[in-house]
Point group: D2
Chain length 226, copies 4
Amino acid sequence: MDYVTSVNIACGFHAGDPEIMEKTVKTAMKKGVSIGAHPGYPDLQGFGRRAMNLSNEALRASMIYQINALKGFVELYGGKLRHVKPHGALYNLASKNYEVASIIAKAVYDIDPTLILMGLAGSEMIKAGEAVGLEVAAETFADRRYTSELKLVPRDTEGAVIETVEGSIKQCMSMIKSQSIVDINGNTKTLKGDSICIHGDNAHGIELVKMLLKALEQEKITVEAL
Amino acid sequence: MDYVTSVNIACGFHAGDPEIMEKTVKTAMKKGVSIGAHPGYPDLQGFGRRAMNLSNEALRASMIYQINALKGFVELYGGKLRHVKPHGALYNLASKNYEVASIIAKAVYDIDPTLILMGLAGSEMIKAGEAVGLEVAAETFADRRYTSELKLVPRDTEGAVIETVEGSIKQCMSMIKSQSIVDINGNTKTLKGDSICIHGDNAHGIELVKMLLKALEQEKITVEAL
Amino acid sequence: MDYVTSVNIACGFHAGDPEIMEKTVKTAMKKGVSIGAHPGYPDLQGFGRRAMNLSNEALRASMIYQINALKGFVELYGGKLRHVKPHGALYNLASKNYEVASIIAKAVYDIDPTLILMGLAGSEMIKAGEAVGLEVAAETFADRRYTSELKLVPRDTEGAVIETVEGSIKQCMSMIKSQSIVDINGNTKTLKGDSICIHGDNAHGIELVKMLLKALEQEKITVEAL
Amino acid sequence: MDYVTSVNIACGFHAGDPEIMEKTVKTAMKKGVSIGAHPGYPDLQGFGRRAMNLSNEALRASMIYQINALKGFVELYGGKLRHVKPHGALYNLASKNYEVASIIAKAVYDIDPTLILMGLAGSEMIKAGEAVGLEVAAETFADRRYTSELKLVPRDTEGAVIETVEGSIKQCMSMIKSQSIVDINGNTKTLKGDSICIHGDNAHGIELVKMLLKALEQEKITVEAL
């Protein structure tokens, strides 16, 4: 949290628990980092990375529950929840499935229409968020490779993750400076984003953030919270 | 919900899930029933009726999480959460243990100082709620017998539950009209309460409520929400 | 259990817990009812009725875990586990998906090659069980309607469940006496089965079983455990 | 697992899941490490380190369930489950409470009377195991300090954990060579044990095991599986 401008905090369904959430919220507020809710499938065993066929009603209620649970901690300490970013398999499904994306977007809007909905740049989630009247943030990834349709290459596919810090920095600088990336097939594609995701469980995560900030500084590019 | 003035809604830790919570909140609001949060231990297997030795930090965070999760549904539909009543083994522990009661009361106050804390009439929870500055509601039970110290006779003790509707009505009318009950040893004790609990899982629950309302009507006594 | 010859006992992942499992096993053994394991997805909230995208490794391990947990209770009381029947969304997926069915069949075989695998009559699960060398039991349903491909009409489709006892009895007698059913489109189809499922949560379940047994008795047809 | 002779494998209630259990069992068998079941309270949030007030029936069933779930993996790969060691808060309660210890011991005996029950050296669990007719293994701890009654100093007390590798080695060599330790008050006490526990989550765990094995080698003392 010393290097990022926003964090996504898990809400207890795929990871996290109340005590961890309270501590993380307090730390983020002390460091002035913007806070987002990171709701996921109710699947601790699978860390929310396995698709689950929730009914529309169950999905909606699950979003409202998780987001409010986190929002409560933030507001209790005088802060404001800024954004919502679905996690894992739900994030991926909502990138491709407009109906699912719409249920999420509607739930977020019903909770607080000033919340920002974060989703994969160019995805159905961004479209659904705009359609419902939310401000959206198009997310790009430092350490993940893209398909030719600008979706994330699935984690179980070879080459899905950019393993080196250098490779990730290169992709980031290309996204920032020329709004483009090189997809998994080697073709250059236009990709416009508002936010870059660095995974907390990436082994090189901290090193990557530090080097990226240094690279941006050299180019006199500043980073801001959502 | 056609007969009661307040409901306590489980928040997903010992029972309930987001979809059930959303439906129950909507039903309560349609019927004009006052809504309270009913947080409990994280123990679905044991329905929150087994004591768990949570740290003070875990207990506090667990209360904030559950209460806000429910509060979110209520406010999303334009309502207001009125009260908080801990569930099961946590309710019992907080009746006797002032430290535990204080952590719960402080968490409730931190969320919203206008919330009413409901606890066993005459218990540590009522004292802790008053000490922290909350409005409190002293709860009495239609279908449970009392010890000589006016605690509930534990569920696994013989005679803990008043099995007949007539017995429950008699205890209620005695509490309401003469502020007294007959304890498990047969002695009459003073007991002042603000609310009477009818368990939703009591086999005669509905019949009991109807007959109690009829008995109150004959005495021209009215019931109001908290 | 006074009317059936076999029971499927949930193993704690979608329903059930150790205490319930131990009690149910003891009751089944006292009544001489044959016992089967009923493993499902790790989804208590959804009662195992929501598809989950488990990896092959997670699915295999999950089957071995649940089946052995139940088998342990049965053997501790001197009994023998007779069959395995996957539950809910997993049952449905394994009916259509040979890869999933094969992983389940292989796990069952690895635990004990004398176990019987129960699956939807004519489904991929039956084929996968036979391919791996297991004895199989083709299951039919008293209270569910069939598609033209002899799959179960999904629960969220209108007409999925036969609501009347008479309708269920009629379907059962047709299956037993002429190995045929009338599908949801009104066409008569051949359907051969070894077992008829009566859902424990069918509101008319007990009445249905009693009337079916009476109807079979009149036709001098006897029912046997697997 | 390259340095120890036995492992305790969590069974899914306080940690672990089926997939991790299957992998860990396979690794242990490949390396020839003796396998024990490590059942705990159903409390993933608290890692089984919070006491829970289970009924005797729930505790017994919970032990049978967890132990058989793990035993199934071991036997499927042709191995044999050697011992059972309760985890965390359950281990501590069973050290002091003979009734709880007896329920655990009886459950283990009912599953397989040749299983070894591992418990704190000199504790009620050892007595209960012997009383029921089980072989027992008295466990001592490399990195935990002892009270004057030879119980473990609770984790939330200062000085509970021996932080340095040197301190742990010293305590181990004292236990092995002179059957004694220095308790938290500085007094020397007799302590006889059959096994030494090294926590897998001790930051210096691997280093500690390696140095202990070297120290034992210099003294020509050999280590054997239970």
